[in-house]
Amino acid sequence: MGCGECKWFFPLDEDPNRGDCVQRESDEKSEYYTARPCGAEDAACEKFEKK
């Protein structure tokens, strides 16, 4: 399974093989969304959820 199949993967319009892993995170003071660049073919991580 690759990141491209994950519901948190958001591909770039200009290159669907690249995109961002977008996550909802929080700490004791605030909540926020993060974005980390990744590739559709990258190996999935523990946060993987099927699209």
Binding site: F10, D20, V22, R24, E25, D27, E28, K29, S30, E31, Y32, Y33, T34, A35, R36, P37
Partner: protein, 829 residues
């Protein structure tokens, strides 16, 4: 009835709990964002619990640096930083409208491993900030240290001077750090950036490169055209990094759009996110047209520059540059309300307060409670001399009272034509216990800038605080890329060296030149001459290395991003450190005012009253006054600065004049002098264990005087006017680049309308006397002592240290004690 309405202003004024008022007055958004802050400033010298190192910047930078070995150093740096901008995790906090953060999570601090091996080893040994899994991350840090330590900038700068001088420079007595561009303070040239946007600058770079190629590719170049090979590399590196900054901003645009379209359910927040997406798509690539865009542009640039370098100060003038956008949006087009502008401005302050990186313990200790001296300049005059205060000035001051951050602080350029409504806003900030703005005497400092560094009048009128104190124009030839914090001496040590033949009793080594056995001095003039020789030696030793570091920086430590933001560098194809600006150097004098008080005490008690002899004095000082308490008290009771006493004041004035004279004898790489700038930040506490006993009655360990021209704590016995009269004897144009005066005022006395009138009258007197600076603490001892006992009840209590503000509870006990010990002045009689 709201909580605020139920509690009267008089009641809050009486209790001093202005933070309570702010919490209830500010918007829900600002309240959320203010409480979301992780303080990155050190508490004492350690980081606050929960603050953790972010390894992403260090790893991404290093990966790309290693991958581009065939490139020049500047291009490797540019590509390394571009890799960070393209790949570091970004985030958008709930309620946020301004984007950009130094690190991948709100609680993280980044690390610049390429700068200094001492910093790297500090990190490896500071286990409080290492994120989990600790062992794994420590191994990564070790590997990065081993890679960077031998090739970092610090290692190269060490090679510029002989080893014995390096030893002296590392003591902190001469120098406070090293002259490294990536630990500098850099003015930003907003007229250039706002006019063109980064895409416009890139277009100028392209044009320069096309012209350069004509010189070297399309014909056999003449010898003087060969320099274009190097210039091309400079321009190419600028372009690489400017494009990366635009991409980084657009990553926020994309994330905001994803959140709006795929996650957010609240229509109002959705709309905000889409506006954020628009703004981040546009700036900093294109020039801003609205307030949110200009603030966002500004913040992106400030953060991007701090990804490149540990910029320890934040020179800017936000009301001047953002004022036209406020005016357009709020007053002319009505696209946003004043309250919405307050929200944006308050967040703009919060985003600055969040900024932090892993920093040397030495520096953390001296800047307790904050991460850098973020002193923002407000007020002043326009280039034509008219009042520059505008509605954005007032908006900044109002927002500051809502968010009550300890950093940034403001410094206000006062001049006789400042509009009254702004003066009232300034006073409200001070009265509400923020400790800022500090007050700067604009006409004096404009003339001062012209005197020392030959800035033309219209440019001198554009000055901003380069760090805590020193004015610097934010113009094409005024912008200073590289003021080195290391250009600092502990000036009181010159008195110590004069009394011990150059020997340092604290460090137990011969430090300064031999100036003779002081116990044999037969006249005051011999002592004065010995002191002057020691002080000149300290300035010379410092300036030698600093000049070398500055001159070599474009080769050892280039800054492609900052270079690409300077018009002069884009035009000339040179690095920002290339000394082609007008020059604005100064030497910071920590612990300066002990000098005159010490020399005057010896002059009176030894050479005039002959109550003691020089051998007795040297013996007593050698013993750190231990066993000589009665004698020490005599020296304490000798005339002291701050009481309008000409005897001691004229000793001080002579010392100032001597130093000013030597300042013209030593030049910086631009050919300008090195004027003195006495101030202390929190170094008056941390240097207490570095300065031996002095003839003003001070013992090793006692805190030093807290300002640059302030009297010693409790030594001013004759009221505020006498303090001002003493301070006015210094020539604030010709003797110093600037100097810092701390004063404490009574909050009770300055309550209400009468309080404003009393304070305003004081300010007019201060300005008429030609004094360049004054800053106030307006918190009473009762509150401070209560906060010492029960800090958990006073987390938001802010005090002025010396050149910056901090939360009182973030200071160590000794620093707290020194603030309580400052004399509270009664104004107005």
């Amino acid at each position: 009835m709201s909580a605020v309405e139920m509690r009267s202003i008089e009641d809050i004024e009486k209790s001093g709990q202005w933070w309570w008022w702010a919490e209830h007055k500010r918007s829900q958004r600002l309240d959320y964002l203010r409480k979301a802050i992780w303080k990155k400033g050190a508490k004492g010298s350690g980081y606050n619990p929960g603050v953790k190192l972010d390894l992403e910047r260090a790893l991404l930078f290093t990966d790309a640096f290693k991958a581009n070995e065939a490139d020049s150093l500047r291009m490797r740096y540019a590509k390394a930083l571009a890799n960070v901008f393209d790949n570091i995790t970004i985030f958008i906090q709930d309620n946020a409208q301004i984007m950009g953060y130094l690190g991948s999570r709100p609680h993280t601090i980044i690390w610049h491993p390429e700068i200094l091996f001492l910093l790297n080893e500090d990190l490896y040994n500071d286990r409080t900030v290492i994120p989990d899994p600790e062992d794994e991350n420590l191994a990564i840090i070790r590997e990065l240290c081993d890679y960077w330590n031998p090739i970092c900038t610090g290692a190269k700068v060490f090679n510029l001077v002989p080893p014995e001088e390096i030893v002296k420079l590392l003591t902190g007595v001469i120098g406070w750090g090293l002259p490294i561009a990536r630990i500098g303070y850099a003015t930003k040239q907003w007229d250039y950036m706002f006019r063109l946007g980064l895409e416009g600058i890139i277009a100028e770079i392209d044009a320069q490169m096309a012209e350069a190629e004509e010189h070297i590719y399309n014909k056999v170049p003449e010898p003087d055209e060969l320099r274009y090979y190097e210039k091309l590399d400079v321009w190419q590196s600028m372009k690489v990094i400017l494009e990366a900054v635009i991409r980084w901003a657009r990553r926020y645009s994309r994330l905001a759009r994803i959140i709006a379209e795929d996650f957010e359910t609240d229509p109002k927040r959705k709309e905000e996110l889409l506006r954020i997406a628009e703004v981040c798509e546009k700036v900093p690539g294109k020039p801003p047209e609205h307030l949110q865009e200009s603030l966002q542009f500004d913040h992106f640039i400030q953060i991007a520059c701090r990804y490149e370098a540990c910029e320890g100060a934040w020179p800017c003038r936000p009301d001047y540059w953002h004022g036209p956008f406020y005016d357009k949006d709020v007053n002319i087009e009505g696209t946003i309300t004043h309250e919405e502008a307050i929200d944006l401005t308050g967040e703009f302050l919060i985003r600055c307060y969040e900024v932090g990186w892993f920093w040397l313990m030495l520096a953390r200790d001296t800047l307790q409670g904050i991460t850098g001296t973020w002193v923002w300049t407000l007020g002043g005059v326009n280039e034509d001399g008219t009042d520059a205060c505008n509605d954005m000035t007032d908006c900044m001051l109002e927002a500051a009272r809502m968010v009550r951050v300890a950093n940034p602080t403001f410094a206000f350029r006062y001049h006789p034509a400042v509009r009254m409504k702004t003066m009232r806003q300034v006073f409200e900030c001070i009265r509400q216990g923020l400790g800022y703005p500090s007050m700067r005497n604009d006409p004096v400092l404009i003339t001062n800038a012209m005197h020392w560094h030959k800035h033309p009048l219209n440019e001198a009128r554009r000055w901003v605080h380069q760090a805590c104190m020193s004015p610097c124009p934010d113009t094409k030839l005024g912008c200073q890329p590289f003021r080195m914090a290391n250009a600092t001496i502990i000036a009181a040590k010159a008195v110590e060296y004069a009394l011990f033949d150059g020997y340092d009793n604290t460090l137990q080594m011969q430090f300064g030149p031999h100036t003779g056995d002081a116990s044999k001095f037969a006249s005051y003039e011999e002592l004065h001459d010995a002191w002057y020789t020691q002080l000149k030696w300290m300035m010379d030793t410092l300036v030698k290395l600093t000049n070398g570091g500055r001159y070599m920086a474009e080769h050892l430590d280039p800054r492609p991003l900052l270079s690409g933001l300077y018009e002069r560098c884009v035009e000339e194809g040179v690095d920002s450190s290339h000394p082609s600006e007008r020059g604005n150097s100064w030497v910071t004098f920590f612990a300066w005012m002990e000098t005159g008080d010490s020399l005057a005490a010896v002059k009176k008690l030894v050479f005039e009253d002959k109550k003691y002899t020089m051998p007795q004095l040297v013996e007593a000082l050698q013993a750190n006054w231990e066993g000589f308490e009665e004698m020490r008290m005599d020296f304490v009771r000798a005339p002291k600065w701050g009481n309008d006493d000409d005897y001691v004041d004229q000793v001080h004035v002579r010392c100032h004049q001597d130093v000013a004279k030597h300042s013209w004898e030593i030049k910086d790489p631009t050919g300008n002098p090195w004027p003195p700038l006495p101030e202390n930040i929190a170094a008056y506490v941390t240097n207490a264990t570095k300065v031996w006993a002095l003839p003003n009655g001070r013992r090793l360990g006692d805190t030093l005087y807290d300002g640059g021209c302030s009297p010693g704590a409790g030594m001013d016995k004759k009221g505020p006017t006498a303090v001002l009269r003493s301070v006015a004897k210094i020539d604030h144009i010709g003797d110093v680049r600037a100097t810092l005066l701390n004063q404490r005022l009574s909050p009770q006395q300055l309550a209400g309308e009468k309080g404003f009138n009393v304070w305003y009258s004081y300010i007019k007197t201060w300005a008429d006397l030609g004094i360049d600076h004054v800053q106030f603490n307006m918190v009473d001892n009762e509150t401070l002592k209560a906060a010492q006992k029960e800090p958990e009840k006073y987390p938001e209590l802010i005090v002025r240290i010396a050149g910056y503000s901090a939360h009182f509870v973030d200071l160590n006990k000794k620093t707290q004690d020194t603030i309580i010990a400052r004399h509270v002045q009664e104004l107005g009689g």
